[in-house]
């Protein structure tokens, strides 16, 4: 090529090569590739003649070829650098520039490798503006534009290997930097560049498929849909049992309550209705009722009140009891074994545990199932124990909505939230389940005798019930009666004598009997079917508020009863229909502040007396005197002579 020739003459053209040179250094890093080329006889000589200068030797002493360069061409060095600087000016022959570029590529890559000159080096500052001999020539704007276009065109050239081009890559990198605004982007520029390149391969996958947002409502919808699906076996059974089904007509009850402005939305009620249907089909249930809903902090409880067919439920409980008894026996055996060689046992005897009422009686008359949302599985609540009821009266806690949540309270509640919920349900049922007077009647005399006087605890529907009008029902509370037995202070509906057991067991408990005879008074609650007018209010607040659903069409009015003692408990009566329901937080109304029970008083110290007081240590004199006295006693039987001697000694001591 005619390089030596044109360089001095066509210097403006030279800068053309600038844009071309830059990338070559990237594509062929290191000095190795150019060496063979340059060492070709022709090329090498040309370089020596026209373009090389002595400074190269100094800068790149390790390269063999540079040593061959001739010295003394420093002027060219200056020229070369300046051309590099001002390359945008030269735009006359772009094509030619590119042609030559392929040849000069390696050389310039090599040259560029020098990097900035250090201050002590001769080339320093040559590339600074103003140093170049061409700086005083103002570049032609057209040329500038063309150079710019060329530069951009070059940058837009896509790589053969990756298909990317530098221009877009830089755009992406800068966009990423500006979007993310990292601190010190210059330090992590390489990484950003790498990330952008890597992202090219991942992002494309995402654009193909859009990820669908999974809303929580999808899960609920799925759950609710299951309520509407029929299982295969179910349909046949229903047809057979069509005549008599334990499934309550929830919608009808809800309709009457809605007249009074009470109830959930209809959709929700219907879902609950379907959920109850599932429950009824899954369990051997005799009667079923939608008890109500208790609000919780995280979730709410939907509660179903059911009664099993006779005999179905008992199997389970018997097993439980056997287990409990078995455990007790085991414990006793262990205790006996341990007793030998152990410190004396405490004489404290815990107050006798009041047994829970049998399933199907008293507070455990019904079994309760709860779920958080219609469609979720129903969970059976454990039967309630008197201790739980007693404790539940003393505490006031919000429900969380999780049955296994602990109840953190004082006094400590025996059990977790499921037990607390069950206890509150029992209390609410006992306090607020009411029916119109005459709807229930006591079971007949004959039954009473058979059951040994307990017939008063049971009532049955009165077939000859004559309904009162809604206005009469509202006029006086004595037209309503409780049909669920109230719970005694003991925590049971039927009083249990806690002292019976000690008598039966052995004579051990005789002392106790003497101490606590006054506790033996039987607790008596109000009898079943007591009118509401006898309910105690809270201070001057009556226990119930009655209203009619409408005043404009009194002939179709529904009597609505709201409990003030249990805010959230409602009852309605319309003709022969009546119903009870609860929507609330599950707490009893208390006027003023809730006062938690105080911790029990500190136990008194053991009475201080001489038998436990510590004796003072004897002094030396006392000890000696005692010793002497003892010795004297021992020696009394000895001979007189010796006695005298001792006596002398004693005298000395004293």
């Amino acid at each position: 090529m005619a390089e030596p020739g044109w360089e001095p003459e066509q210097s403006p053209q030279q800068p053309q090569e600038g844009p071309g040179r830059l990338p070559s250094e990237g594509s062929e890093p290191g000095g190795e590739p150019y060496r063979p080329q340059l060492q070709e006889p022709g090329a090498a000589s040309e370089y020596q003649e026209g373009t090389e200068e002595a400074s190269y030797e100094q800068h790149v002493p390790e390269t063999n070829f540079s040593q061959a360069h001739t010295l003394g061409q420093e002027s060219h060095q200056a020229q070369e650098v300046s051309m590099y600087q001002t390359y945008p000016l030269g735009t006359q022959e772009p094509r030619g520039a590119y042609q030559s570029y392929s040849e000069r590529d390696h050389y310039h890559a090599y040259e560029h490798k020098h990097g900035p000159y250090l201050p002590h080096e001769p080339g320093y500052g040559l590339y600074q503006p103003g140093y170049s001999p061409y700086d005083d020539q103002t570049p032609d704007p057209e040329h500038r534009m063309l150079a710019f276009q060329n530069a951009k065109a070059y940058l837009l050239k896509s790589s053969v290997t990756s298909g990317l081009n530098l221009y877009d890559h830089l755009v992406n990198v800068l966009t990423k930097i500006l979007d993310e605004q990292p601190t010190n982007p210059v330090d992590i520029f390489e990484n950003i560049s790498k990330d952008v390149k890597a992202a090219q391969f991942q992002k494309k996958m995402d654009t193909l498929r859009d990820e669908h947002e999974v809303l929580p409502s999808f899960d609920s919808a799925e759950m609710h849909r299951n309520l509407f699906l029929k299982t295969d076996g179910e349909g046949d059974e229903e047809q057979e049992e069509m005549g008599e089904t334990p499934l309550p007509n929830v919608m009808e009850t809800a309709f009457y309550f809605e007249q009074g402005g009470i109830g959930l939305s209809r959709d929700e009620t219907y879902l609950i209705f379907l959920a109850l249907k599932k429950l009824v089909s899954a369990q051997p249930i005799q009667t079923c009722r939608f008890w109500g809903r208790i609000l919780g902090q995280e979730m709410n409880y939907i509660i179903a009140e059911v009664q099993y067919h006779e005999g179905e439920e008992e199997e389970e409980t018997e097993e439980e009891e056997v287990m409990v008894e078995g455990e007790k026996r085991m414990e006793e055996v262990e205790d006996e074994e341990k007793e030998k060689g152990e410190p004396p046992k405490s004489t404290y005897k815990p107050p006798p545990v009041i047994p829970k009422e049998e399933n199907g009686t008293g507070a455990n008359k019904y079994v309760y199932f709860v779920c958080n949302e219609p469609g979720k599985p129903w969970v059976k609540l454990p039967p309630v124990t008197p201790a739980q009821i007693v404790c539940a009266r003393k505490i006031k806690k919000f429900f969380t909505g999780r049955l296994d949540a602990p109840v953190v309270s004082f006094p400590p509640f025996p059990g977790n939230e499921a037990n607390y919920l069950r206890a509150q349900i029992a209390r609410i049922s006992a306090g607020t389940h009411v029916s119109p007077l005459g709807y229930y009647q006591f079971t007949e005399e004959g039954d009473e005798d058979e059951e040994g006087g307990e017939g008063r605890d049971d009532c049955e529907e009165n077939p000859e019930f004559e309904p009162l009008s809604a206005f009469e029902m509202v006029e006086s509370l004595s037209t309503w009666v409780h049909h669920v037995p109230s719970i005694l202070n003991q925590g049971r509906c039927v009083w249990f004598n806690p002292l019976q057991k000690p008598e039966e067991e052995e004579g051990e408990g005789e002392e106790e009997k003497d101490e606590v005879p006054d506790e033996l008074q039987q607790e008596v609650g109000p009898p079943l079917l007591t009118p509401l007018s006898e309910d105690e209010g809270i201070q001057n607040i009556p226990a119930w508020t009655a209203s009619v659903s409408t005043k404009l069409t009194p002939q179709y009015a529904v009597a609505i009863l709201r409990s003030n003692r249990w805010p959230g408990a409602y009852a309605f009566a319309c003709g022969t229909k009546f119903g009870n329901i609860y929507f609330g937080w599950g707490h009893k109304y208390s006027l003023g502040n809730h006062t938690p029970a105080l911790p029990p008083p500190v136990q008194p110290e053991y009475p201080d007396g001489p038998e436990i007081s510590e004796a003072a240590d004897p002094t030396v004199e006392e000890e000696l005197a005692f010793k002497a006295a003892r010795e004297q006693k021992a020696l009394e039987s000895m001979e007189e002579e010796e006695e005298e001697e001792f006596e002398d000694e004693d005298d000395d001591d004293d």
């Binding site: 009074g260 959930l264 902090q297 006031k396 509202v474 209203s547 005043k551 003030n564 006027l591 809730h594």
Partner: protein, 330 residues
């Protein structure tokens, strides 16, 4: 909540007792628009009801152009529990006379005179009307700080009779003396207690979603037309809801915390730092389509919001008593 959306709102927020029987609900649909017409309100909100022992109060609020400005409150007193048709109607009218005619505010013009000038003053005007069938409304008197302070001393349920007079004798001796010294009355009319309680509830638990309202540079508060509802994730966070009342904590925030606030939307206190912690429950209901917030401090306050829609609002249906036992119950 907005009176026009009452029906939907009740469907979404119904959590037991709304106190609105079908008859009353229908009556509200007819009487609230008339209320808006007669008092020339820009909009009418149905606030809720307070259950008394004998009767319930139904409360509606009228709003002017500036939503944060004082509101006019109207109430309706439903009939008592016992009693029969014609005789009861007389009772209702008597109540009405006691309630609002005495105020001399019968004419809408008079009410308009009382309407707030948008000067940023937050003293709330409330006016009463006793009515019979959710049809006639009366204006409540404006709530004053004194009334609120007095009402805090009262405990127990509302009676349902606006002219019922509470005696302070039931309150403990110290408070009594204080009021004796000041030469103030020892009795409080239920009407005033009602006003004060509404004021308390609005201050403590009246809430709106973030960005639903915006403050203009002039200081008045308008509905944000660009509000398209909170996203589901946002809706589950307490920080996305604001107390719709004069901010208290906002001024105490550090500069750092304030830096991210947008002055046009974040001009209120969020629920995030409400005391005590956990005094709100956030639940997804109705098949996870509605976010329902319930206040545990004022049991009975239910707020609902359907995410990514403009549907939101709150309703109070309760006894009008603060849950003072809350610390023990959490």
């Amino acid at each position: 909540m907005d009176a026009s959306a009452l029906h939907t709102a009740l469907q979404l927020a119904a959590s037991g007792d709304t106190g609105l029987s079908l008859e009353k609900r229908a009556a509200l649909g007819a009487s609230l628009p008339l209320l808006q017409r007669d008092y020339r309100f820009e909009r009418v909100w149905f606030w809720g009801c307070i259950q008394g022992v004998r009767d319930a109060y139904y409360i509606a609020q009228g709003l002017g152009p500036d939503l944060a400005a004082p509101r006019s409150r109207l109430y309706r007193c439903s009939e008592g529990g016992a009693g029969n048709g014609p005789g009861r109607r007389d009772g209702g009218v008597a109540g009405e006379r006691l309630g609002m005619r005495g105020l001399g505010l019968e004419s809408p013009a008079a009410v308009r005179g009382l309407r707030p000038v948008p000067d940023g003053a937050r003293a709330r005007v409330a006016l009463v009307a006793g009515s019979l069938n959710c049809v006639e409304w009366s204006l409540l008197p404006p709530a004053t700080e004194e009334m609120v302070a007095q009402a805090e001393l009262l405990e127990g349920r509302f009676q349902g009779d606006p002219s019922f007079e509470y005696e302070y004798a039931e309150v403990n001796a110290e408070d009594d003396e204080r009021f004796l010294d000041d030469g103030k009355e020892l009795t409080m009319k239920e009407e005033n207690r009602l006003v004060a309680t509404i004021e308390q509830i609005d201050r403590a638990v009246g809430i709106i979603p973030r960005r639903a309202f915006m403050k203009t540079p002039l200081g008045s508060v308008h509905e944000n037309r660009n509000f398209e509802g909170l996203s589901l994730t946002e809706a589950k966070k307490l920080s996305s809801y604001f107390h719709f009342t004069e901010p208290v904590n906002l001024k105490n925030k550090t500069l750092l915390e304030k830096a991210d606030l947008d002055p046009s939307t974040d001009f209120l206190d969020s629920l995030e730092h409400d005391v005590p912690q956990g005094s709100w429950t956030v639940q997804l209901e109705k098949g996870s389509t509605v976010v329902v917030l319930r206040s545990l401090l004022w049991l009975g306050l239910t707020f609902y919001h359907v995410p990514v829609t403009k549907q939101y609002g709150y309703i109070y249906c309760g006894t009008g008593e603060k849950n003072l036992d809350l610390p023990f119950m959490l």
